[in-house]
C-alpha cells in the first residue's frame, strides 16, 4: 500500500494546476506580471495627463465643472507678466544651478576618488542633503537666511565683510540667489556620488600611462577622464535638469513665490493659481506649459541612451 502511493507520485505525475499551465506561456506570464504596474501607471499617470489637457481647455474652478474655452487659458497665461517672470526664473534657476551642481559635483567626486582615511564615512555623510526630506532641510536654510536672526549675517558681520544686515529673502535677486544656493546644496551630493561611480569605472592605468608620457593633470582630465565620464555625466545632467525644472519644494518653503511674485517657478505658480486661488483649469495650463521642455529633455535622454547602448 505504502509502496504504491510512493510509486504514483514518482512516476505518474499529476497534471499541474491550471494556473501554472497558463503561466508556462511566456506571453501570459509577462501579461500577468505587468498588469499591476500598467493599472497603477494608467490610472495615476496616463489618465491624469489626459484629464490635465482636457482641464486646461475649459474654464472649470473648484466645484464648478467648466465649459470648453479652447486655448483661452494658454492665451491668458502667456499675457500674464507673473507667468512670464516664472518662465524666466525657471530657465535661470535650472541653468545656473545645473552648471554649479556639475562643476562642484565633479570636483567633489574627484576628491572622493582617492584613498584617504574615513572615505566610506565621508561619502555616507556627504549624501545627507540628498536623503533628508527637502522641505525639512529647506526650513533649516530658511532659518539661516532669516532677516533678523540670520547666522549668515552674523558670520559675515564678524568677518568684517558686511556692516549692515542683508535681507536675504526680501530682495528679489537675493531671494533668487538664496533659492539657487539651496538647490545646489541639495544637488551636489547626487552629482558627486553618481559621477564618482562613473570615475571608478575608469582604469587608473590610463591616467598613469598618460602621466608617464608627460601629460599634465589638466590635460589628463581633459583628454582622458572627461571623455570617458561623458556618458554618465549626460544622464545625470539630463535627469537633474528635469527635476530642477519642475522643482517646487524649495521655493514654496523659502519665499512662497515672493517677494511680490518675483521668485515663482512653473510649479509654484501653478500651485498658487490652481490650488491657492482655485482656478483649476488655469493652474493645469501653467503646469502643462512645462511639458514641451520636459518632453524635449526626455527625447534627448532616450536618444542618448539608445546611442550608448548601440555602441
Amino acid at each position: 500500500m505504502a509502496i504504491t502511493s510512493v510509486a504514483t507520485t514518482a512516476y505518474g505525475e499529476p497534471p499541474p494546476p491550471r494556473r501554472n499551465r497558463i503561466f508556462e506561456d511566456e506571453r501570459w506570464l509577462a501579461f500577468a506580471l505587468l498588469v499591476p504596474t500598467m493599472v497603477l501607471l494608467g490610472l495615476f499617470i496616463a489618465y491624469p495627463f489626459v484629464r490635465g489637457i482636457l482641464l486646461s481647455v475649459t474654464d472649470s474652478r473648484v466645484g464648478v465643472p467648466g465649459n470648453f474655452v479652447g486655448l483661452a487659458n494658454f492665451y491668458k497665461i502667456f499675457n500674464d507678466s507673473i507667468f512670464r517672470t516664472s518662465v524666466y526664473n525657471t530657465f535661470l534657476y535650472t541653468g545656473v544651478t545645473t552648471v554649479f551642481k556639475l562643476a562642484l559635483g565633479l570636483w567633489l567626486a574627484m576628491l572622493l576618488n582617492r584613498h584617504f582615511r574615513g572615505k566610506a564615512f565621508t561619502r555616507a555623510f556627504i549624501l545627507l542633503p540628498f536623503i533628508i526630506p527637502t522641505v525639512l532641510s529647506t526650513f533649516a536654510w530658511k532659518w539661516m537666511f532669516d532677516p533678523t536672526f540670520s547666522v549668515l549675517n552674523w558670520t559675515l558681520y564678524h568677518l568684517g565683510l558686511i556692516t549692515g544686515r542683508i535681507n536675504w529673502l526680501g530682495d528679489p535677486d537675493l531671494a533668487m540667489i538664496s533659492i539657487m544656493v539651496i538647490n545646489i546644496w541639495r544637488g551636489v551630493p547626487f552629482f558627486a556620488i553618481s559621477l564618482l561611480a562613473g570615475l571608478q569605472t575608469i582604469s587608473p592605468e590610463l591616467n598613469e600611462a598618460a602621466a608617464i608620457d608627460g601629460a599634465k593633470p589638466l590635460q589628463r582630465f581633459w583628454y582622458i577622464t572627461w571623455p570617458l565620464l561623458l556618458p554618465v555625466t549626460m544622464v545625470v545632467v539630463l535627469f537633474s535638469v528635469i527635476q530642477t525644472f519642475a522643482d517646487f519644494q524649495i521655493v514654496y518653503v523659502m519665499t512662497g513665490g515672493g517677494p511680490a511674485n518675483a521668485t515663482h517657478l512653473f510649479a509654484t505658480y501653478a500651485y498658487q493659481i490652481g490650488i491657492g486661488t482655485g482656478l483649476l483649469s488655469e493652474g493645469a495650463a501653467i503646469s502643462l506649459a512645462m511639458f514641451p521642455v520636459l518632453f524635449l529633455v526626455v527625447i534627448i535622454q532616450l536618444l542618448y541612451i539608445r546611442r550608448v547602448e548601440v555602441r
Partner: protein, 283 residues
C-alpha cells in the same frame, strides 16, 4: 594621490574637502543646535553683543515636548511611516514583477513597454498634481492615506522596474533553465531561483523608494487637508507656522525628528542606497 609636497595635499585636498563638508553639513548642525536651544537665546538679533550663535550652554528639550504635547507630530510621524512603507511595498512587488517580465521574457511590445515605463520615470509630480487632485477627489480618496499610497507608486514603480531590470539581466539564463529541467514551472523558477539572486537589487530599490516617499511633498500637500492625516513634511509646513509667525525651535525639532527615520534607514543600507542611486541613473 597628489604627488609632491605636503602643502599641495593640504591646498588641493584637505582644504576643499573641509569646505565641502562644512557647506553640506552645516544646515544639519544648525538644525540640531536650534532644536535644543531655549527661546530666550533663539530670538536674539544677529548683531547683539557677546552672542555666540554656534553653541548653547543651556540645552533644553522644551521644543520636542511642545511638538508631542501641543501638536499632532506623533500622528504625522506614524502617517508618514505607514504611507512610505505601504507605497514602497506596492512598488517593490510591481517593480520586481515588471522588471522580471521586461528583462527575461519574450513577448510582443516588450521594447516599447520598457520605453514607456522609462518615460513615466521622468514625469515630475508637479506636472500632474492638479488633474490628479481632481481624480483623487472623484474616487473619494481625498484626505486619506490611500490617496498617497496609491499615487506614490507612480514615481516609485518606474524606478524600481528600471533598477530591477539591470539586476535580472545579470542573472545567467542557465540558472533558470536548470530549475526548469528539474521540473519547476516558470512561476516557481522566477520566485525561488531568480528573485532570491536579485535580493541586493530589491534592497537597493526598497531603501531608495522609502526615502523618496518619505521626501514627497506636493501630492501630500494637495491631497491631504485635515491636520491629523498629514505627513511630517506637510504637517511641519502648515501647522507649525501661524500666519507669519515661525516657531523656529519646534520647527527645527520637527525637522530633525522627521529626518531621523530616513537617516537611520539610510545608515543601515548606505551601500545599497548608493547602488540604487547610481543604478537609477545608469540603468
Amino acid at each position: 594621490m597628489i604627488e609632491g609636497a605636503l602643502w599641495r595635499k593640504w591646498v588641493f585636498f584637505y582644504l576643499p574637502m573641509a569646505l565641502f563638508l562644512i557647506f553640506l553639513l552645516f544646515p544639519f548642525y544648525w538644525m540640531v543646535i536650534t532644536s535644543v536651544r531655549p527661546d530666550g537665546e533663539l530670538y536674539r538679533p544677529w548683531n547683539s553683543v557677546n552672542y555666540n550663535p554656534f553653541w548653547t550652554w543651556k540645552p533644553t528639550l522644551d521644543h520636542f515636548r511642545y511638538l508631542f504635547e501641543e501638536t499632532l507630530f506623533a500622528a504625522w510621524l506614524w502617517n508618514t511611516m505607514f504611507i512610505a512603507l505601504a507605497s514602497t511595498a506596492i512598488s517593490l512587488v510591481c517593480g520586481v514583477f515588471a522588471g522580471y517580465a521586461l528583462s527575461r521574457l519574450n513577448f510582443p511590445f516588450a521594447g516599447s513597454l520598457g520605453t514607456g515605463i522609462f518615460i513615466t520615470y521622468l514625469v515630475p509630480q508637479t506636472l500632474l498634481f492638479i488633474p490628479l487632485a481632481e481624480i483623487i477627489r472623484n474616487y473619494r480618496l481625498g484626505d486619506t492615506p490611500w490617496s498617497l499610497i496609491l499615487t506614490y507608486p507612480t514615481f516609485l514603480i518606474p524606478f524600481c522596474t528600471w533598477l530591477m531590470m539591470g539586476y535580472f539581466k545579470a542573472v545567467p539564463k542557465e540558472l533558470e533553465e536548470c530549475a526548469r529541467i528539474d521540473g519547476a514551472s516558470r512561476w516557481q523558477a522566477m520566485l525561488y531561483i531568480v528573485i532570491p539572486v536579485a535580493i541586493p537589487g530589491i534592497l537597493s530599490a526598497g531603501i531608495f523608494a522609502f526615502t523618496l516617499s518619505w521626501n514627497e511633498f506636493i501630492y501630500a500637500l494637495v491631497f491631504l487637508s485635515s491636520p491629523e492625516q498629514k505627513t511630517v513634511p506637510v504637517g511641519v509646513t502648515s501647522e507649525l507656522i501661524r500666519g507669519d509667525v515661525f516657531f523656529w525651535g519646534p520647527l527645527m525639532a520637527g525637522a530633525l525628528l522627521g529626518s531621523i527615520p530616513v537617516a537611520i534607514a539610510y545608515s543601515f543600507f548606505v551601500e545599497h542606497y548608493v547602488a540604487g542611486l547610481t543604478g537609477s541613473v545608469k540603468g
